[in-house]
């Protein structure tokens, strides 16, 4: 089993390296000179040459790739072409802000999804089930911004104008000091992710409830609540863990639209700005960061899967 996990870990590292190569090559294709882009109007031949030297633009491509990769590893992400400052300084606070948003959404949506899914499975074919599955089918179809704008329309402009529609924490102050501004962005993410978790939970729960050991437990007179909590729920959870991981990983990308919509000062907003300004270093860094989150979450899910699946404990199986 350890071998299996180690092999999975090695694959993840390889994939991350391949992604970094992909991202690096993509930026090589970009027309124009990065040094020229940073200096802009103040470019003189001497300064250009100096900056090119400083940015190692004269080195061979593979050497640039390796030094860029080395920089990523120690947290040196290069210079932002748009602001002229270090990318690390630009992103530092934003990463924290995005993490707050993601964590809040995860903490609410995971139990909610599990609860709704189980409820729906237990009431299969009845009104409660139809409402839950119908709602999740509709919500799963909608793009993030449609949900976000609907929430804004309802809760901050027309019907109940009670919540702020944009985040306006003064610069330098942490976003979590203004909890009311966090509500709508978090809620949007929750509405995006919960349907998938609920649908998967419903499917596995139905399967488990149909199994022999649940029937056995019922037959021997175990109270229904205990049947569900002790016998059914634990077995239904492990396949759902995969879906939860996929959804968490997906949120790392989906947060881009949500942050842009609510002007939330996180990495998503930074990414959109960077793309609009063609700020290559920032786009590079953020793509790698988001891909890393994606890969790590998927790795964790697989490890949990390996650990909880008795069939894989022998090591050789698969």
């Amino acid at each position: 089993m350890t071998q299996l996990i180690l092999r999975r870990l090695a694959t993840s590292v390889l994939i991350l390296l391949a992604v970094s190569l992909l991202v690096f090559i993509a930026t090589l294709l970009l027309p124009g000179d990065p040094a020229q882009a940073i200096l802009g109007q103040q470019a003189t031949p001497e300064r250009l040459a100096a900056l090119r030297e400083q940015m190692h633009l004269n080195d061979p491509v593979w050497q640039r790739y390796l030094s860029w990769l080395g920089g990523l590893a120690v947290g040196n992400f290069g210079m932002s072409a748009a602001s002229g400052g270090a990318v690390t300084a630009l992103l530092g606070e934003r990463i924290g802000a995005s993490l707050v948003l993601l964590l809040a959404a995860a903490v609410i949506s995971i139990p909610l999804g599990l609860l709704l899914g189980s409820y729906s499975a237990l009431r299969k074919g009845r009104a409660g089930d139809h409402i839950t599955t119908g709602a999740s089918l509709v919500l799963a179809a909608l793009p993030e911004f449609v949900i976000g704008i609907s929430l804004i329309t309802v809760f901050s402009t027309t019907i109940f104008p009670i919540l702020p529609s944009v985040t306006m924490a003064p610069p330098g102050e942490a976003v979590w000091n203004y909890p009311s501004q966090l509500v709508l962005p978090t809620f949007t993410l929750v509405l995006m992710v919960t349907p998938y978790i609920a649908r998967m939970m419903r499917a596995t729960m139905l399967e488990v409830l149909d199994s022999g050991y649940v029937e056995m437990a019922r037959l021997k007179g175990v109270p229904e609540g205990q049947v569900i909590l002790r016998h059914a729920l634990p077995h239904a959870l492990s396949p759902v863990a995969q879906v939860i991981a996929i959804q968490l990983a997906w949120m790392a990308g989906g947060v881009v639209v949500v942050e842009f919509l609510f002007r939330y000062p996180g990495i998503g907003q930074a990414l959109v700005d960077a793309v609009a300004n063609r700020d290559v270093q920032v786009v590079q860094t953020l793509s790698i960061l988001i891909a890393a989150v994606y890969i790590v979450v998927n790795l964790l899910a697989d490890v949990v899967g390996i650990l909880t699946n008795p069939k894989l404990r022998t090591g050789g199986a698969r």
Binding site: L142, P143, F145, V257, F260, A291
Partner: protein, 295 residues
Amino acid sequence: MSVIDAPRLVEPEAKVRKGTFHRFIRQRQAKIGIALTAAVVLLALLGPLLLPWATGYTSTEFAGRPFKPEGLLGTDNLGRDVLTRFLDGGLRLLLFAGLATLLGMVIGGLCGMVAAYRGGWVDSAIMRTNDILLALPQLVFALLAITVLGPQPWVLVAVIGITHAPRIARVTRAATLAVVTEDFIRASEMYAVPKWKIVVQDVLPNITGPLMVELGLRMTYSIGALASLSFLGLGMQPPTADWGLMINENRIALAVQPWGVILPVLAIAVLTVGTNLITDSLARASASLNVGESK
């Protein structure tokens, strides 16, 4: 004998096909889905034809005054008639989403079938490439491409299609694997039918169920992705009339002139819910369990 036998061999299959479609159309949610989708598609298709009737009013005044005779739904921040732009803004979204989906289906479908049918190093090579492409969320991949190539329409179509491909390839591969061990494939191989012909003639018709489901799912996501990119200001560029872009342009004035936001939001919502209902009904109707739900 053979003359009599032949139709018998064909008959059960035809019945199954009809059965699948029957199971699909019998569901209430399938009918609702088709109705919703058709309504928005018709609106997008016929909208541009209604333009002469809707246009005529441009004002330099900021925001609009809904339900005034000079413009049915008022004007936007640049004084453009909201209804005109709404009617004109759906066709491109639909067209590009369709093209992107088609591109993804062709690339992903081919890769998936080839991977499963050839096996060995071809399979490994295709699936490892898939793993790499899947590590970048769709939107991030699209943003990376747009940074490099700029927000041209062909870039949008290509990048959304390409990001769909690995996800479609996975589903296609799984479906194909179940088919390639069948006897009729081996029979064709023994007759030395060319490999590409086996893939097209024998494999493809047997995996239409999961492919149809995948088509619907990817269409839903294509619409969402394209509209999202335009909404971020990185898709369709002004002054193009486009639903996603309209939402971006008009959301500042949501409280004063809601129509510029609400109409396109509603249209996109109805469209994606419609396609998703169709997809879900298709998945229920086809016996296959390979319903991809990955993003």
